[in-house]
Amino acid sequence: MTTTAEPQETKYTGKSQQRIEDPRLLTGHGTYIDDITVPRMIEGAVLRSPVAHARITRIDVSKAAELPGVFAVITGNDLVEFAGEQPVIWSVIPEQRIARAHALATDTVRWVGQGVAAVAAVDRYVAEDALELIEVDYEPLPVVADLEQALAPDAPKLYEDWPDNISGSMTFPAGDADAAFAEADVVVGASFRHHAGYGCSIETRGCIANWDVFAGKLDMWLGTQAPNLARDLLAQVLSLPVDKIRVRTPDLGGGFGLKFDFYPDEIIAAILSRRTKRPVKLLEDRQESFVSSSRARDMRHDFEMALRSDGTIIGLRGTAYAVLGGALGTVGSGPPWASVLACMGPYKIPNQELTLKAVMTNRSPYGSYRGWGMPKANIVHERLIEFAARKLGMSRIDLRRMNFPTPEEFPYFSGAAFTYDSGRYADCLDLATSAVNERGWNVRQREGREAGRSIGIGYGFHTEVGAFGPSRVLNMVGLDHSGFDEVRIRMDSTGKVTVLSGQSAMGQGTHTTYAQLAADGLGVPIEDVTIVTGDTESCPYTGYGTGGSRAATLGGAAIVNASGRLKSKILRIGAELLEANPDDLEISDGRVSVRGAADASVSTADIGYSAYRMLNGRLPESETPTLEEIDVFDPANMTTSYGCTALLVEVDRQTGAVTLLDCLQAHDAGVIINPLLADGQLAGGLAQAFGGGLFEEFVYDEDGQINTASFMDYLLPSATDIPPFHFYHQETPAPHIPGGMKGLGEAGTIAGVSVVASAIDDALSDLGVAVTEFPMTPPRLLELIRAAQSAGVTA
């Protein structure tokens, strides 16, 4: 069932509020991992393989070990004494071959950048000097540089005991796809290629490991989105009890999924610390980040869509190829799997046959990046529906609208895995198209075209699966972890509030939105609320981490639940103090009063005093002292938010360059806690997507070498490349989430790639160009334009 939001009286929730984090962060008073120095700390560096595939025949570290200032040099053989293989928590494909690797290679390297040895030294300079003194002999093995090579019948194999390079394969059927395609009036299909990139946070990854063998404890500072997961995985790899490990997370300079994953560096730092009996800081530098942080997006989707002549979609089928690396990363083939599960998007498609093939190559391990497969799902359904509209001669807007589930059809099972909770898709589409008209884009396009300019308007409709997810469902589909979130909320003896959460704040404003929810939930001023995150010893356990658009939906729901119960207790104590019935009381601005008689009131400070210090005569006999509630929230379903994005572009037909002129998005993520921050999330995500759509690419050569290992060649979009943004919200609350929130952290990244293609196609509609490759660089687009022009001439 889909309902519309009932207006609720809230003081903070739903209102734009500057981030409470801002004064500290914007004045340079944040504490990031590199700002932390612990006593006796030394620094590490990792020697990374310069070749993509080779057997290591000799490593000689003696010269490095002799360099003054060097404390220890370790190789893979030293590491395996204390560490098992790197963990893979997602095993989504039944019978999948899971290729695991140790944090440092032991005998074979399978990607450029794989760790081979590591140094701990007095500082990073000396550590890097020492790396140059390590001698390694590599016996080259044939390189599988890309997907097509990996799939070739005579391909060299990454793993000798495998029959081929395929880690696993599975198909999701629904209905009868073959029959649907046989009876279809129109079939459109294409091969879509999204090249590799990564969730580039401006702060690189880093950690400080302090393995105190005398205390038997591993104390780690780690720039991570998932401190509880990291603690569990450290315990698993190092065979340590979880209670002997503490993970603390300082301020994060961005995470974008990349910092969800668990990296070899954490283990290497721990082993170096154990070896040197000193804390070891190990920071990833920008150059190595291109080979040592999770590679993402790298996939090919060969898909086709079947329709009736009236525009009804009757079938979707195809194969998605995940370009995995030389070993599986933390999330295995999770994101490619999600790209398949979500590839029907917002459309009702009764017959589906969706295949995933996970393929190993000599590239760095595949991992998490904001959007987690869904940007490519979006490319599949949004590109195909536009190709279909073209072929049918129908409006691309109308074709989308007629294939949406109606609000009454929710909860709607999409066919492969996800059940969408609620939605008013057609309303959202109309919101976007009317905004396009209001902004005069159609006029700009017409006038531009009359002046000889190639102006295009792109549209994209996206769905975003958030609130990952019901724990048992996640376990069932192959996650060796859970999906609940736990929150602890406490009012202290002075009536002030502390919320402890296992979520990570990486710049998205979690502390602000949590403070808004807690302040409203308890009826206290937002200034009275402190949010604490980032310490496994004091903060609660979160089942997954900050990812999967979970922070507002699950952590937020837990705050709503916990603060509701705590508020009841506050009112019961207030009733004792005011000699009133709790049902007659309300709490507002930190004062408990009898409804309609504001002069009879007590403050939260009075309540706190009664619950912690002066219990006698103040705390009801039936109440336990202290004011604290814990809520563990495990959702009954995920949430599905959605939106319609429109983009105005200009294409230079002579150079292939694309300029982004303007962008708007109509969006529905249920109840919005903070519109200012919501818009920031949407804009940031879209900017990243435009990076993937036009700029960012790991370019590899035939030897598996990466040719884009600096910001000179890996092109993040900058402010001058990004258009203005305009956001329009509608609110359809998630019926199963207390508070009604749905995820929105990944919306922009999901929506923003395909819409670039849609806009380019529209700008070149007279030529019939169809963009299927990302990023669409100027040379690639010029090639498409010329091919279309010469096809037009011959036709």
Binding site: Y125, D129, E132, Q287, T655, L715, P778, P779, L782
Partner: protein, 287 residues
């Protein structure tokens, strides 16, 4: 991304710089603005054992006019040059080209001479010097010599500077009033090194015939190139679409680009054709 160990020396003037260069030989590198050298050292691609810092020198600064020429000290910061009114009037190409050189923060620190001596074939200032037929003043142990811009650049990151010579200044001829200029640059993002850049200056006589044409391109050969053939096509004639197309084709034929991650050689050559035509048209329009 930390440099290997190096020795640091600070020079007081150009003479001491030359002495230090002579003393340390090929192991020494000059540190001016550091916008290219420092990243290269952090990548350990440049490994000088001695760094000679010339930021304390005073005798290589200044921007002045001299006998129909603009003389620019090697240590003039790019941002100062970009905003210098004398320079902007004498050589309007300068501010237009510098707007493409990195970002403001780079130009605050980066120097005029540093960009020339670094000799990146895709950088704007070398292409501008070549377009304008500028002359570079080079100081060595036995005094100074003058090098025409087209002879200064030899190969990527390589100039005629001997190990113990330093670039102290450059001279650019002042353009006659009424000269139209244009910079056309194709880069993936604003501030990136050019895939192709084209500098153009055009002056027409009273009969509408071109009596001054200057064209150069960056990013399309191992050095920035003066497009002499294209200039010849246009010189002395009226500039119409036919002659502009012919000049653009001549320019494309004269370029010898290579493939890199941002574009193939053939794409770059095609872009020379496109950008040369655009640059000539805008130079005419900008008169």
């Amino acid at each position: 991304m930390k440099p290997p160990p190096f020795e640091y020396r600070s020079a007081h003037d150009s003479t001491e710089t030359v002495e230090l260069l002579t003393e340390y030989g090929d192991d020494a590198k000059i540190l001016a603005g550091g916008q290219s050298l420092v990243p290269l050292m952090n990548f350990r691609m440049a490994r000088p054992s001695v760094l000679i810092d010339i930021n304390q020198t005073q005798d290589m600064t200044g921007i002045r006019e001299d006998d129909g020429h603009l003389v620019i000290g090697a240590m003039a910061r790019q941002r100062v040059l970009e905003r210098d009114p004398t320079a902007g009037v004498a050589v309007p190409l300068l501010p237009a080209a510098l707007a493409h050189t990195g970002h403001t923060t780079n130009r605050n620190r980066g120097t005029f001479g540093g960009s020339l001596a670094h000799a990146d074939p895709a950088a704007e200032l070398p292409a501008l010097l070549v377009a304008m037929g500028g002359e570079l003043t080079v100081k060595g142990p036995s005094g100074t010599r003058i090098v025409p811009a087209e002879d200064f650049f030899l190969a990527p990151l390589t100039t005629t500077l001997a190990y113990n010579e330093i670039l102290v200044s450059a001279r650019l001829p002042r353009l006659p009033s009424g000269t139209g200029t244009a910079v056309e640059e194709l880069a993936r993002r604003h501030g990136d090194f050019a895939i192709v850049s084209v500098m153009a200056a055009v002056h027409l006589d009273s009969n509408g015939r071109a009596d001054l044409v200057r064209l150069a391109a960056g990013g399309v050969d191992s050095t920035p190139i003066r497009l002499h053939e294209a200039e010849s096509v246009l010189s002395g004639g009226t500039l119409d679409e036919t002659s502009i197309d012919a000049a653009a084709t001549a320019a494309a034929d004269a370029s010898h680009p290579v493939d890199d991650v941002h574009g193939t050689a053939s794409y770059r050559r095609d872009m020379v054709r496109v950008l040369v035509a655009r640059a000539i048209r805008s130079a005419i329009a900008n008169r």
